[in-house]
Symmetry: C2
Subunit: 406 residues, 2 copies
Amino acid sequence: MTHLAKRMSGVQASAIREILKVTERPDVLSFAGGLPAPEAFPVAAIAQAHADVLAKDAAAALQYGPTEGYGPLRAWVAERMTWRGRPSRAEQVLITAGAQQGIDLVGKALIDPGDTVVVEAPSYLAALQSFSTCEARFATVPSDEQGMCTDALERVLREERPRLIYLVPNFQNPRGTTLPLERRLQIARLAAEHEVMVLEDDPYGELRYRGKALPPIAGLVPGAPVIHLGSFSKTLAPGLRLGYAVADEPLIRALTIAKQAADLHTGSLSQRAVARLFEIFDYEAHLRELRRLYGERLEAMLASLDRFLPPGSQWTRPEGGLFVWVRLPRGLDAQALLGDAMRERVAFVPGAPFYPADPCKETLRLNFSNRPPALIGEGMARLGACVSARLRQDARAEEALALAAP
Amino acid sequence: MTHLAKRMSGVQASAIREILKVTERPDVLSFAGGLPAPEAFPVAAIAQAHADVLAKDAAAALQYGPTEGYGPLRAWVAERMTWRGRPSRAEQVLITAGAQQGIDLVGKALIDPGDTVVVEAPSYLAALQSFSTCEARFATVPSDEQGMCTDALERVLREERPRLIYLVPNFQNPRGTTLPLERRLQIARLAAEHEVMVLEDDPYGELRYRGKALPPIAGLVPGAPVIHLGSFSKTLAPGLRLGYAVADEPLIRALTIAKQAADLHTGSLSQRAVARLFEIFDYEAHLRELRRLYGERLEAMLASLDRFLPPGSQWTRPEGGLFVWVRLPRGLDAQALLGDAMRERVAFVPGAPFYPADPCKETLRLNFSNRPPALIGEGMARLGACVSARLRQDARAEEALALAAP
């Protein structure tokens, strides 16, 4: 038996990825993964961009490149971030292997063993995993329908002196909630006041289907220490593994050193292909189409939940992103329900693994981006039937217990 | 000023990458980088493979994929490793973002702060960097013309109780040396006896220009704990960022969990494109051509060093890989020489940063893969002139000192 490093002892294989191995069987109607719709991948443009780069620029696109990333792609990100509300220069951008690598590099560069990281409960599972490999302690802040509760945050900052606040401001994974402007401002101010870094993980920010776009926390309060993470996984394609970190230059330098040791640099060909894609492709039209497609699926899911889930069930009503979060009635256990659901060939992810501690077992996460409305309806009908059956079963069991009572 | 994690305090931006920013100016004839020859990239096959995958399999190639890697590519690596002497199954392969990520994941999974890692002096710089982020201590073992001295290794194993032995068995970076079979066997036996993991980093193994291929340490002694790392960076193209780790399944599982937290998985498109490339491309013929091209460049460099370096200079005579290691005569300082050389528009990397401690300042590393023979001759002529000029200057200074003496 190989002796593993202590930092690995708190880290399990992602419960979700293990669940996905079962739920992604082709005969199962799965709402478990966080998969974008493959029919929305801009395949022709991606193919053209790769062909162009390999025709015109192969020597550089296939060679080693700078750790910081490909200059024109860094410049594109800086311009987009500026437009979204965080004035940025290319030097403040690090290209990463997806936003996940951004999370990991921030942990590596900033968190010492025993340091406290503030997270929402529930929170993005793979971020918890990554911080665990830095041997972080977690302090949880409760969330309501508007995301992280900032009053509770202030208390935690005073009492726990954390090193980092991690959050997903837009259409949070797993709950789908969005932080309103006043909470964003408050978090930025608290971060500046308590000198604690905010890690604003924003992979879904461009995927808003209702309501008005809100500025990133990173741009709200001058001097507030914020690292902003973004991704091309949800708007272009996850298989390219491209994301970015935006922060002040000293931080970008520290993250760059961490990245150098981690993988030297992100793929040169992928970076140049995406930079080329932005020249030949109407990205805004693509985003509009993606928002239309996913917005329709979100509406289909909310309508199907209304129709098929029994009374007492609750769920979030996100304005964007990929996920709806459900709370089952009367203390039903989502993990047990998954067994019933799999027999009916419908799948979801139980909510428990998203909690760093004290999981709420009657919760589950549903993804709506990966299936068309008709299949969403069919899936929610099956799920609703499973929930109702469980409720009847529990009611019968209670009745039997009551009859058996003296 | 942001407070960085303690693990970052021992890690500098790679001295080499900082040097490369200066030496890779287009007017400089640089032998500093470790760059493959871009004219040898199989551009047409890479372009065809990407086009094929995006035409036939875009939905999967652009989607999230398993952390372990793309099945057919894992199977290809397993087959090749079996043929090279380490019988392997696909389940014993993890696809990584270059061999560099393999090094980083091994450190993360196995090394606790304060653990000792045995390295050669000099050793691959970015491995030292990566182990530093795990807060490793280094124990160095001297090397001779045949690589790591195994007698000294045995002593270090007894005295230091290390967690890991890191080495590059074939055409080492930076020295170009190759471990003979008897040392490989001895290292495998020592590792089994002392229960210490060997990390066999083999990015250059397929690039042998003279002599007979030797089996990887990983396949020599049943039960010896060895992780083997390989790369497609030197044989196909570094810009794809594809490498692999081969080890027993419990270790691959641990590395997979570490990778999941680091970047979820390696790019699906790159992995599938390379798997496709192996179907449509004569890889063996490509390797033969690469060996011919680089072998010719190695010969040109050795001949030019013979011709242009002044007496008292010494250098290695590698059988493969990308690098020759030079020791300057009479204690000349390679860092000071670099200043002279840059004025003559020729560049190399001083050897000092490759030493974890006690650098030997009269050493330098030369890359021969990135320039054709004529430019290698021209570059070595310029370098030789700089060395000779320094020697004359030093001799004059000594003479003046002697004259001034009473």
